[in-house]
């Protein structure tokens, strides 16, 4: 049943590409695909690939589909370079885009259904699927913005953002240094280590622990970012106030998680340590801390995103004339949205890299944990 249904979709994709040849591309007077021999050839090849993919073996069909999608995407992007098409695109153009879309979807679906024997191949596929999906999302964004002629003031195309990003690397580096290195990192290190130390002390003195755990849980649920204006008032406009906000925001998740982790060691292990005559320091080093590691890394990961949010929000309340949050609010006010998006891309890359580094460190230190045994 299923292959028949997919075969129909492949035919639809092929037909869509072929229809783009005859249906007008633009509501403005523009040359059709018949007048552009190079693109016409590519379109026909893409349509042929889609049509043929319906008949060959699944693995080959995946390769053919993606080859067709690449050609199809190239054709549509090349058409957008023509000013007569960009902004006034109509049926013919969108038929090609939609044909690419459903072909790409089928390709990804077939790729997701492949279950290779080797582990490395499975991992490569698990990595490739979201990458292909993301790449196609960017393609759709680009085509939609430029095809419909959305004013760049409202929504710039990814290519425009990339150009802006490359053109203002110096400014981006300055903002990154101010917000991330000075504000986020210093606050993160101080806040996490303070939370960790207090948790270790609270674990040693049970009374303190019993008092701090409910309070910590309570405070973790509060909108702590609200202290940003107070910190700006206390520590001034420059990075120390951002770091202070980050310290307060990261402290409580770390405290609560580390306390939970230190209590995670089992009775049997504790009894064993006692029967060895181990002191508190030794038990802490050899039993409690290793057992708490997954919890500590959980807090480190939560904090890596919280810290960034805290620092950027604090910049809304006053900054020197640099920093990611500052630039975003200033440029959004001037409607220079390509700069804003470039800053968001910067923040996204930095945030993912930050999280990724913490996650890698977690794998390296807690490789023994059941969640990594496969």
């Amino acid at each position: 049943m299923k292959p028949d249904w997919q075969r129909g979709v492949f035919f639809a994709a092929a037909l869509g590409m072929l229809a783009a040849i005859v249906v007008p591309l633009s509501s403005a007077p523009a040359a059709g695909l018949l007048a552009r021999p190079g693109l016409l050839a590519l379109t026909v090849v893409a349509a042929a690939l889609y049509g043929a993919a319906a008949f060959v073996a699944p693995r080959l069909s995946i390769a053919m589909t993606f080859a067709g999608v690449i050609l199809g995407c190239f054709v549509t992007l090349a058409l957008l370079r023509d000013d007569a098409v960009a902004g006034t695109a109509t049926w013919g153009f969108w038929l090609a885009v939609v044909a690419n879309w459903i072909a790409a979807w089928l390709g990804v679906a077939r790729l997701a259904a492949v279950r290779p024997q080797e582990k490395s191949a499975a991992r490569a596929i698990d990595l490739a699927i979201p990458l292909l999906f993301g790449a196609f999302l960017f393609y759709l964004w680009e085509v939609a913005v430029r095809g419909f002629g959305v004013p760049s003031v409202l929504f710039p195309a990814p290519s425009a953002i990339a150009v802006r990003f490359a053109a203002s690397l110096m400014m981006l580096w300055e903002d990154f240094f101010q917000t991330f290195i000075l504000g986020v990192l210093s606050g993160y290190v101080i806040g996490c280590s303070a939370g960790f130390l207090v948790a270790v002390i609270a674990h040693r003195y049970t009374f303190l622990g019993r008092g701090l755990l409910p309070i910590g849980n309570f405070v973790s649920a509060l909108p702590i970012v609200g202290i940003a204006p107070i910190m700006v008032m206390w520590f001034g406009f420059d990075w120390p106030s951002k770091a202070a906000v980050v310290v307060v925001i990261t402290f409580f998740p770390m405290l609560v998680n580390t306390l939970a982790g230190l209590n995670a060691a089992g009775y049997i292990e504790r009894d064993l340590m006692r029967s060895y005559g181990a002191g508190h320091g030794q038990t802490l080093r050899k039993l409690y801390l290793p057992a708490a590691m997954p919890f500590i890394f959980n807090a480190l990961k939560i904090n890596s995103t919280l810290a960034f949010i805290g620092a950027i929000v604090a910049e809304f309340f006053g900054t020197p004339t640099r920093g990611i949050g500052f630039r975003i609010s200033i440029e959004a006010g001037r409607m220079a949205l390509d700069v804003v998006w470039a800053e968001i891309a910067l923040a996204a890359i930095a945030g993912m890299a930050f999280y990724g580094i913490v996650a890698l460190a977690e794998r390296a230190t807690t490789f023994w944990h059941p969640s990594y045994r496969t």
Partner: protein
């Protein structure tokens, strides 16, 4: 957790009443925090008060100085009783429709929190259902959803408001959208986990009864995801509140707790900022309490043992 478990194995000398064991440490630490707060207020405000006295060239004693630090008009760190007093005045001292009333501002924030929460939770649930049922989506979309949370999303808040404002959307909806964007993620992740929590044995049983996908969903997957759903809703409703507050900042909004924070920081009204923070905290606690109530109610309706 029993008391002997927490005292790390040492024999307990005295058996305290369980309520004392539970609450005495919390009360002690809260009292300690308040005491430290007062000391910090005296020390931090000392400079301002002393220079005030010296400017007026009035003789002063230590007692004058200390009482001055605890009743300063624009202190660096207001004393807890000052905050509570201002909070009480702001809440009860004005009619609730007045823009000086904290109830008014809380309501503005609360309404966008609620709308955002409903949008976000609904979207999150739909997304989770799709992800559980469509394998391609699970493989392709889920990694991007997780990635999207590593992006400091609040950074997008100002442009979302500016862009939506320029196409004519103003007022509540842009703020609610930011809340929704922030709070859908915990719901999606929690519900995906919940919907896939039934054991393979249970799923096999449904299949031996030749249940349809819809029947498996409504009779097995959905009920077993409810505990996960409520755990995520508790997280996401506070996030929704944070989103609503932050969304009020960049536009210099006229109303809402975020606007109150911004106005307080412009005019150096520290007590007002703290009072707004108290209001925000109470809102957060109240919202979590609401979700908790709903959870108990649903649990009872589903026949959970409590």
């Amino acid at each position: 957790m029993t008391s002997s478990a927490l005292s790390s194995g040492r024999p307990a000398e005295i058996r305290w009443h369980p309520l004392i064991v539970r609450y005495a440490p919390v009360i002690a630490i809260v009292l300690a925090i308040i005491a430290i707060w007062y000391v910090a207020a005296v020390l931090m405000n000392m400079g301002i008060v002393r220079s005030g006295f010296e400017r007026e060239e009035t003789p002063y004693t230590i007692a004058d100085l200390i009482s001055g630090t605890l009743s300063a008009e624009r202190p660096l760190l207001p004393a807890p009783h000052q905050i509570l007093q201002t909070f009480g005045e702001d809440v009860f001292g004005w009619p609730v429709t007045s823009p000086r009333s904290l109830v008014f501002h809380s309501w503005v924030t609360l309404s966008s929190t609620f709308i955002g929460f409903l949008l976000g939770a609904g979207f999150g649930i739909i997304l989770a259902v799709l992800i559980v049922h469509v394998r391609t989506l699970q493989k392709s979309l889920l990694p991007w959803i997780i990635c999207s949370q590593m992006v400091p999303i609040l950074a997008v808040a100002p442009i979302v408001i500016v862009v939506l404002g320029s196409i004519g959307l103003r007022g509540l909806l842009p703020k609610a959208l930011i809340s929704a964007y922030l709070c859908f993620f915990p719901v999606t992740i929690g519900v995906v986990k919940g919907l896939s929590s039934p054991d393979p044995i249970q799923l096999d049983l449904m299949r031996t009864w030749s249940a349809t996908a819809a029947q498996i969903f409504w009779k097995l997957r959905w009920p077993s995801s409810v505990p996960f759903l409520f755990a995520s809703l508790k997280v996401s409703i506070t996030i929704s509140l944070i989103g609503a507050i932050v969304a009020e900042l960049p536009t210099g909004a006229q109303a809402g707790i975020g606007a109150r924070l911004l106005a307080g920081s412009y005019y150096g009204q520290t007590i007002q900022i703290w009072a707004a923070l108290v209001a925000a905290s109470l809102l957060a606690v109240g919202l979590i309490g609401l979700v908790d109530l709903a959870e108990r109610w649903v649990g009872r309706a589903m026949g959970a043992r409590t």
